[in-house]
Symmetry: C2
Subunit: 187 residues, 2 copies
């Protein structure tokens, strides 16, 4: 299997298809390595944050939220969109955690970023571990509806491995939090 030397595609033109609240869709024409042209459908997204809030007792604050595209109530870690591309992700994470669950946290650890769907979107999600939790009062947007639960991290990781938790950021966040705790407890 011989390597391709340069994998980059070159943009020839960009056409805006739709500009919505969440999805900003473009259909771009690109030139490939072999000189041929093709189109790339690309969702431009403002970016998002997600938080794994873990209590001193090893429980995770987790949400149940109806997700219209998949027509079901999805179990998810707290999360939300940035206000703008320029917003500090940590500030967004603190805001979303408090608005959705009422909790604030003393200790914030970044657990890395990821691209949920780099084939057709530039969305980046930054995930935080939040500890030293204090319970307060949640402050949902008027048109936001979700329920909050507390479950053991170990039980949630088992549910991820058994396919009972289907949300991507929740799988990534819980698995990273679990690996982090394992590696800390082995040193």
């Amino acid at each position: 299997m011989e390597d391709f030397k340069d994998l980059k595609e070159t943009m020839i033109k960009s056409e805006e298809i739709f500009s919505g609240k969440v999805v900003h869709l473009f259909k771009d024409t690109v030139e490939l390595l072999n000189g041929k042209r093709t189109t790339r459908e690309t969702v431009r997204h403002v970016g998002a944050v997600a938080i794994v809030p873990v209590t001193d007792d090893g429980e995770v604050i987790i949400e149940l939220q109806y997700r219209y595209p998949v027509n079901q109530v999805v179990k998810e870690i707290p999360a939300g969109k940035l206000d703008s591309k320029a917003e500090d992700p940590l500030a967004a994470a603190k805001r979303e955690l408090e608005e959705e669950t009422g909790y604030t946290a003393d200790v914030w650890t970044e657990m890395g970023m990821y691209y949920p769907t780099p084939a057709y979107s530039d969305e980046v999600i930054t995930i935080y571990l939040a500890k030293g939790l204090h319970k307060g009062v949640r402050n949902l947007d008027e048109n936001e509806f979700l329920n909050v639960r507390k479950e053991r991290l170990s039980d949630l990781v088992r549910d991820v491995m058994q396919g009972k938790i289907m949300d991507g950021k929740t799988q990534v966040g819980l698995l990273k939090a679990y690996c982090l705790e394992q590696s800390l407890s082995s040193h």
Copy 2:
């Protein structure tokens, strides 16, 4: 924090915005729990598979592929779209692994499904662990360009935890494969 009794939203109307090769975009109007109406931008997607192919020596077959939306070469596990919603995901996984890397596998284990972005898409990705690998000849689509590497699973998991691997399905797949091996080796 009182619970909402029913979280479901009711579709009032659905408007098709764009039908492309990958992205099929709708702007739907829904009724919320409080009787108000809002819109939901929803990408309908055919679904995808991703594969963590692990050699007998504990190395993972991994790819370097340019992703236009994020304008960089991304390190990813082998993956691809289903041919249709009706296609068997395992059949798709076998096809994609062989086409992209040349490898076939004797032992396939499903590691669960997930929604990469349930807030605005119905895409489902099914992830498989593939073992008992046999090297063959890859057969890329004419307009597909990617390079193949072999790296140790433990090194890749470290890179995921350190934020050096940014692709979502790759983070989920590698972390699940790692947790699975850990739990098998502890019994």
